[in-house]
């Protein structure tokens, strides 16, 4: 399977924050070109319950503080096609997502109000044709994913739960048995 359009959502464990507070932060990221990715604009959906929250629209990817299912987290949604092996792509997307989490955790204007637990993740493949939300897709992806997660979590056990609604995109909840700091996982991916 040519795995593309990988999305990782890293859930927040501390979220004493109003979504509106993210708007100036994301605008500043555009001003300061904080990432090698091309950033375009900010979209505000804070008014939509359990919605995509505040999005930083980019060319290669959208980065958002997403509140789908009422679970706040940073969602990195890869839009453009990536080169390399599946492991390379999973690593690259996770690395970028963690970097953005770290940036938000360290954002002075948020005063530490946002903290992520990288042991609580969601993987979405945003292309129903490439990866329908079926057991078969899970079967194909599982070895690659386990390989990737063993590097990430090493010996810490974790669970994988596929969302059961076949109308959804291929979505896996990944829950490690312990919490992981964003910076510690970033170190492992270097």
């Amino acid at each position: 399977m040519n795995l593309q359009h990988i999305n990782f959502k890293i859930f927040a464990e501390k979220q004493d924050i109003s979504l509106d507070e993210l708007i100036p932060v994301f605008h500043r990221w555009i001003q300061n070109k904080v990432t090698e990715e091309m950033l375009i604009d900010v979209a505000d959906y804070a008014h939509v319950p359990e919605g995509p929250g505040i999005l930083l629209i980019g060319h290669e990817a959208n980065i958002s503080i997403d509140n789908a299912e009422n679970r706040l987290g940073l969602l990195y949604n890869r839009k453009t096609v990536m080169e390399g092996s599946t492991q390379d792509k999973l690593q690259k997307v996770m690395q970028l997502a963690l970097q953005h989490c770290k940036r938000l955790e360290e954002e002075p204007t948020l005063s530490g109000k946002l903290k992520f637990n990288a042991g609580s993740l969601q993987l979405i493949i945003n292309d129903r044709l490439l990866a329908p939300n079926t057991d078969e897709t899970l079967k194909i992806l599982e070895p690659e994913l386990k390989n990737f997660l063993s590097q990430l979590y090493q010996k810490v056990p974790y669970t994988l739960t596929r969302h059961s609604d076949s109308r959804e995109r291929f979505t896996l909840d990944i829950q490690a048995k312990k919490s992981f700091e964003v910076s510690s996982l970033l170190q492992k991916l270097k």
């Binding site: 593309q4 708007i23 091309m38 959906y45 939509v48 919605g51 995509p52 060319h59 490439l130």
Partner: protein
């Protein structure tokens, strides 16, 4: 662009009509030709527009980040239209004829919102869906996936017959003459791709209403509109329509003109075709600002227009489709899933009753109710769309409608299902009890995504919604049912002209800074098919619009006479009094005192109207120019007062003079001694600002200058009430354009190296 791009065509083969499949294949080929440089920008732009693929803000590769204009470095140097970069995200408009949609279609919309857009589907003020941030190369597959469930995006934009709107209560409404749904359906598919509807100079919008009294399909604001009517002939009831043409909002709103008191149903399609042919043949093609059918009707007069259409109608060769559909109109267009039942409302919870009181409509059919699903700013998530699809399947015969108020209406709910339906909506966070209230604010996309947006309409609408929600328990009953509508610019996509309180985005230059403002439009009418338009009472800084709402609604509560509607209240107290009431709110504190006034709602960037850096000081000449612009604005306002008094001759004269005054002000920007003679001013303005295109609006071109030239040419010929009204509208727009021009010139000057 999706990795699965090449596989969808094969996967969906045979799942759509061959004609639709072929059209999309052609479009995909055109994309390829454009990539190879074999299609002109101008041609490709109109091609994609006719398939609903629209441009979006910043697609010219420039974005002001609050400090400076930054170049957006998209990977491809290709363009998809004049000044429109290939890789820049765009908007896809999706036509939903008369708002009718089913569960499977909702599910596909959810898929597309997730895979190609930002996870949100947006309902427009014309019952369409819009998806944003879409790559042009993804659009053919997006269209295929829609076509496979019976939705086409053909002619969703461009110079074509746009989505046909219809009353969301058609068939269940208590005041309808009959169900207009099958007529709207027939008209949609008769005109879709019709050869006689392919050569317009501008878009063409159609609406169907079941009755005249309610807002219904808003026939008055449409190019062509049908209001259901019946009459008795030879003892038998005959169906037909009160038939209107030439209405429209846009920058200069026009009330639709009555074409026929009773157009028989069998003539509905034939007459539509004849009108399309006349519009295609005689409508303006070069000047986009005058290319809507309303201008042709205005130029000719309704009698000549009618004569020409009837002549054309006689020449048409009979088409069996004109009447084939009529058989369907005598059958139920929609059926309930379950039999009727009776709900004991008193036995329900208070929370449910609150929702019931705002969101439930009593159908003409005993035992059934229709339910409004109120969406914040017309937005719905993919998850919510799937849950809504489940609800549609569970409670209805697979039907639901979008509305022009950016909501959904679920019809044919047997009463005893209402509580369970409410619980299911609550589980989907779709249970907000605000339908048909002042909290259900309508807004176009504005500066969020629209290239033409001047101010943040969605930002303002969201702020008003939050503030009003906080006070909702304190709101007087008289205020609760008012309508608020917001547009990001003068083009009226938010339909601000037909609401009690309407706002449209403008800007003002203050001490070298550009400040976001909204023009306040009061006294428009939503009922009677958008029966009358409000007029501007003045521009107020964006950040003070919530205070405008509080103050005007407060005044309405305290000063209204018994049962007096808002429109009548506004007319009674008069514009002078209103202006006095709002006077202090028009003031802008200095940048040092309160910089928040210099940013728009929901956007922390320092406000700008363009990509050029905001100048720090506009220089001494500013005061002289602004003096004339302010005076011009005042004159336009005085013209409105004269019109209200019935003095339309002087009203027209004042409006004309206000335009000359604004032109004179602009000339002062470059020349110290300016003539007082109108002819000299107009000529000088033409030479300096029109011929050089300095006055040109980035999107409307020279349209606003033409208003001045035409007004000058016709000066001395006298005015009718209608022409004076129109001239006032044009004068306001010309003055706004003068402000914008002045803003652009001073910004450029400030940006120039020393």
């Amino acid at each position: 662009m999706k990795a699965s791009q090449k596989q969808w065509r094969e996967k969906l083969q045979g799942q759509m009509s061959p004609a639709w499949a072929e059209e999309i294949d052609h479009f995909e080929t055109e994309i390829e030709l454009k990539k190879q440089g074999k299609l002109e920008d101008r041609i490709f732009a109109e091609t994609r527009l006719r398939r609903g693929a629209y441009g979006q803000r910043y697609d010219n590769g420039q974005r002001h980040d609050g400090i400076q204009s930054q170049k957006l470095e998209y990977p491809s140097p290709l363009t998809k239209g004049p000044h429109t970069l290939w890789d820049a995200p765009g908007m896809q408009r999706i036509k939903i004829p008369y708002g009718g949609i089913n569960a499977k279609q909702l599910e596909v919309m959810a898929e597309l919102a997730e895979e190609y857009s930002d996870g949100i589907a947006h309902i427009t003020t014309r019952q369409d869906f819009q998806l944003h941030f879409i790559h042009i190369e993804d659009t053919p597959n997006l269209m295929r996936r829609l076509a496979a469930v019976g939705i086409t995006t053909r002619e969703a934009c461009g110079n074509s017959v746009r989505n046909l709107t219809g009353c969301p209560y058609a068939g269940i409404c208590n005041t309808q003459a009959f169900d207009v749904s099958p007529y709207a359906d027939a008209c949609t598919f008769f005109l879709l791709g019709h050869p006689d509807a392919q050569d317009f100079g501008r878009k063409f919008k159609i609406a169907f209403s079941g009755c005249a009294e309610k807002a219904c399909g808003l026939v008055n604001i449409h190019d062509m509109g049908f209001i259901a009517a019946t009459k008795i002939e030879n003892g038998k009831e005959k169906r037909g329509f009160k038939f209107y043409v030439g209405g429209g909002l846009g920058s200069v709103p026009q009330n639709a003109k009555l074409f026929d008191e009773f157009l028989p149903e069998e003539e509905m399609l034939a007459m539509s075709q004849a009108i399309c042919r006349v519009f295609g043949r005689y409508g303006e093609k070069k000047d986009r600002g005058r290319a809507r059918i309303k201008f042709l009707i205005k130029d000719w007069g309704i009698d000549k227009f009618k004569e020409e259409v009837l002549k054309e109608r006689k020449l048409l060769k009979t088409d069996p489709r004109w009447t084939d559909f009529l058989e369907k109109t005598r059958k139920d267009f929609e059926k309930p899933l379950k039999g009727p039942s009776k709900l004991d409302l008193a036995a329900q919870s208070q929370e449910f009753q609150k929702w019931y009181n705002t969101n439930v409509y009593h159908q003409r059919q005993e035992g059934y109710k229709a339910v409004t699903v109120a969406l914040p700013l017309g937005d719905i998530t993919a998850d919510q769309l799937r849950k809504l699809a489940d609800i549609v399947r569970k409670y209805t015969h697979d039907t639901i409608r979008t509305t022009v108020e950016q909501n959904f209406v679920i019809r044919w709910i047997t009463e005893t299902d209402l509580f369970s339906l409410y619980q299911d909506l609550k589980n989907a966070s779709l249970d907000t009890a605000v339908a048909n209230t002042i909290l259900d604010i309508v807004s176009c996309p504005g500066t969020d995504t629209c290239k033409l947006g001047i101010s943040s309409s969605r930002g303002l609408a969201g702020e008003l919604r939050n503030r009003l929600a906080e006070q909702s328990h304190l709101l007087d009953e008289a205020v609760k049912n008012l309508h608020i509508k917001v547009s990001g610019c003068f083009n009226s996509c938010g339909q601000h002209h037909i609401s009690d309180l309407g706002f449209y985005g403008v800007s003002r230059k203050i001490a070298g800074y550009t400040v976001p403002h909204f023009q306040v439009i009061l006294g428009g009418q939503w009922e009677n098919n958008g029966g009358s338009y409000g007029l501007a009472v003045g521009a107020v800084p964006s950040k003070r619009i919530p205070d405008v709402v509080t103050r005007l609604t407060g005044r309405y509560v305290t000063d209204r006479q018994k049962d007096e509607g808002f429109k009548d209240f506004i007319q009674r107290i008069g514009k002078v009094e209103i202006k006095k009431t709002l006077e202090d709110l028009t003031q802008v504190p200095s940048h040092d005192a309160d910089p928040s006034f210099y940013a728009d709602w929901g956007d922390p960037r320092e406000y700008t109207i363009g990509d050029i850096g905001v100048g720090e000081c506009a220089g001494a000449v500013v005061s002289a120019v602004e003096f004339d612009l302010t005076a011009a604005e005042r004159q336009a306002f005085e013209a409105q007062l004269l019109l209200e008094k019935g003095d339309f001759q002087n009203a027209g004269l004042q409006a004309y003079e206000s335009m000359v005054r604004a032109a004179r002000g602009l000339i002062k920007h470059t020349v110290r001694d300016v003539s007082d003679d109108a002819e000299a001013i107009v000529q000088d303005f033409k030479t300096r600002y029109y011929d050089t295109q300095i006055f040109y609006d980035p999107f409307a071109g020279g349209k606003f200058a033409q208003y001045l030239f035409l007004a000058h040419k016709k000066s001395g010929q006298g005015y009718t009430p209608e022409s004076a009204h129109q001239l006032i509208e044009e004068a306001i727009l010309f003055i706004e354009a003068a402000y914008s021009c002045y803003g652009r010139m001073t910004e450029k000057k400030a940006a120039l190296p020393a």
